[in-house]
Amino acid sequence: MSEIQKTSSNQDNTDLDKPELDNAGKASKNIVAIKDVSFGYGPRLVHSGLNIDIERGSITTIMGPSGCGKSTVLGFIGGRISPQKGQVIVDSKDIASLNNTALYELRKSMGMMFQHNALLTDITVFENVAFPLREHTNKTEQEIADMVLDKLEHVGLREAADLYPEECSGGMQRRVALARAIVMEPAIVMYDEPFTGLDPISKGIITQLIAEMNERLNITSIVVTHDVPEACEVSDQIIVLAGGKALGKGSPEELMSSDDPAIKQFMTGAPDGPVAYHYRSQSNESEGGH
């Protein structure tokens, strides 16, 4: 009995050691490392033992069915949400150990595009993109104008600089949000559901822009989405989340040809399979277990 326990605990140790060894080996390579993270709202666990590594300069897409905690992962990386267990390391700093000042300092090297764009509604498109520059740099008005118009030019909205956010279409707002996320030329840019609610043309534009910005500015991009074709087109690495764990990791081709039924179901969009069609609350599940 004790023998069995011992061996099993040994196994646990080796399992735990493995990713750490890997990380130590390529510490400079991985800009984001999420280690054995558990998180939940109340009794319902969203993540249990989640491990994600993101390479510097890559485009990583986090996919998964709705409600599997994709956006929460971005919350961990940005330090807006603290996991109950585990470690989140960004740019070789442990997020949990940072105080407020250090966290804000780290956030200066991050850009984020929110699901609903989160543009400031009381200022113009130009001022929205200029906002981080005005807050964090002492650049002159001319330098700010140059940088902002340059970024707006990239996303094709130079002419829209003087419009207010509510005067722009959804696709334009998304592009403004993108310009704002990259204006500080950060090391990491996070895109939360960049394709939802867009027409096919706008989707194509955003996909192209994400790839283009990643290459041109040498940033690490993290995309959260459930649009399979766009994700496959743009990503170097795709991580499929389900049931609180990273179900599959790999290049788009690897995942497309995966044999795992859950990954297959998600990539092809089958309505029922390992990921249940019917919503089950926690209490139902536990009752079913008895």
Binding site: G78, R80, Q115, H116, A118, L119, L120, P132
Partner: protein, 261 residues
Amino acid sequence: MKFLVTPIQKLGATVIDLVYSLGSIGLFFYRILSALMTPILRPALLFTQLYMIGVKTLIIILVSGLFVGMVLGLQFYTNLVDFGAESQLGLLVALTLVRELGPVLTALLFAGRACSALTAEIGLMRATEQLDAMEMMAVDPIKRVIAPRYLAGFISMPLLAAIFTLMGIYGGHLVGVSVLGGDSGIYWSAMQNGVDFYDDVLNGFIKSIVFGAVITLIAVYQGYYSPRNSEGVSSATTRTVVVSSLLILSLDFLLTSLMFS
């Protein structure tokens, strides 16, 4: 047994809730205080909010002050004439306004006009992720959004109360003297003889400062912690007006009994 336990549990839950929200407001106030340097160092932020909060409330304050003063003049004059004491009109109007109606009515109007707008604005910024976006852009929303608004409300309230009181005194003069034919000199001299700077005017100022500090805090707190949907924002706005109004009236009683006893 249950019929006895349930109300006691409810009472307990209410008390715990109350203590919790008091603590959370206190903490929030501390965070605002430690962020106050931002609007002082960046007056442009403060100016915008002084415009939105102070200047835009000015019209309603001017008009209400004038009418309240006119009503006071009319009511006091017609009643004082019966006792042949119409010479005391100026004193009565001024004391009523300086001690009570000036600070209280201004605070109530301020809660309805400025504080409700503050809560709705901040609540919508919360609901549309604008505050989260600021955090992710390494900009502290307490410094950038809350502190300038709080300071502007804190500054505006006593200024508005003083303007309201003065308008009221002129409104009383307008009715009591210009319309009903009282004597202008007596109106002013009775006021000057009876109103004391320290006892009345200064205490009125203190009241308006306390009201401004409290209700602006309620407004920004309700907005900052409002739920992220339209129903949440609307109920937070309602709560701001209701809680501020109740607080103004109860604080007024407390302050009056402390100051004028």
